[in-house]
Symmetry: C2
Amino acid sequence: MTYLLAGMKREKVASAPGRPRAFDTEKALDRAMRVFWRKGYLGTSLSDLTDAMGINRPSLYAAFGNKESLFHKALKHYSQGPSAYLGEALRESNARAVVGRLLHGVVDLLTDPHTPTTCMWVHGALSCGDDPLRGVFAAQRAAGLAALRTRFERAIADDDLPADADADALARYVQTVNFGLTVQASTGATRKELLRIVEIALKTWPK
Amino acid sequence: MTYLLAGMKREKVASAPGRPRAFDTEKALDRAMRVFWRKGYLGTSLSDLTDAMGINRPSLYAAFGNKESLFHKALKHYSQGPSAYLGEALRESNARAVVGRLLHGVVDLLTDPHTPTTCMWVHGALSCGDDPLRGVFAAQRAAGLAALRTRFERAIADDDLPADADADALARYVQTVNFGLTVQASTGATRKELLRIVEIALKTWPK
DNA sequence: GCTATTGTGTATCGCTCGGTATATTAATAA
DNA sequence: TTATTAATATACCGAGCGATACACAATAGC
């Protein structure tokens, strides 16, 4: 049902029966994402959101559901936008380049002057209280890990990593450095400092 | 004035003029620490605290000040208690042992079945909103970093690390892995998984 | 025109938050 | 005893929280 509605909306934009929506849902979602990104989940209030999105509360609820639902959508938007460096890194030609691209991508994201000095995923995961959101974070971490592991398994098959390398452990390790860089940035580390950490992590990469 | 009062209290316990306190402040602080540790700063309410501490609100305010002040005290208590593995690690005889002890200490702490599966410092730093608490976290991070850097400088002087090693960058790197392990544990990584990450980090240690 | 449908703006809802005023109780000092 | 001091328990404060009820405005189909 949902995809049918979406398809219809895309085909004939002005065909909705009732009053047309007065704001751009994509733009509003992007604004919401930035607020959650900067303030975390518990640190973000509905007033913060409606102010940033430029809409009223009922419009927010009608378009995105409740706060938690909006956060889910914002997190997905984040993984497809700012966090897209992960997918790009995976397409590098060898394992070393994958890791280099990944870690530099993280640093670029963390030190972009136009966005918050943290990762929305990490910030969200540690600021959601006992919320049922936890499962989503665990799932996303597992997905990112699996993608890296698969890439490293291919690298081993390509003789790009030692045959006795542990793809799973290497993937976890890279993810861990990624997380650590995020906490560093969140608590004030500078770009130069982050890059030196990346340098050390890369220097020790196998082969 | 304050230290005089404290001194008097310590000398003659039953000499306080008014009604004696009906609870053990150290025990209450320990309880408060555990709540903040598990739920983060914003995720912890005063009711959570008073319930866990077994005291009423006015008693809490009289003994510890407001929520932020109590968090400061709890964080200090944490750094002297659960987080004491850091100081122990620094006393190891060589740099490699320092790092090994440190990272294994972190994993032990993160996987202790009697305590929350996270680090109170990291959890607090990413769940305090825009609060003025941020400065405290930055200061503690800087202090931990400085301690590690000093230890590695000594290791270089002892010929325990290569002469061209960058003590500062190495310290930051170890701290980063520490943080990363914390995020891993906070989002569900198991002890076995964490230990494999530590193994990789240690395998790549210089010399 | 009319009706159905849907988004908008305002004005709340009940609840919980961090923090306190007040009266009472339990100790010391005289 | 009486006065003083301090901690306790209850009950409450204003503010902000997430979430909605309701009346109105804007579109579509007829």
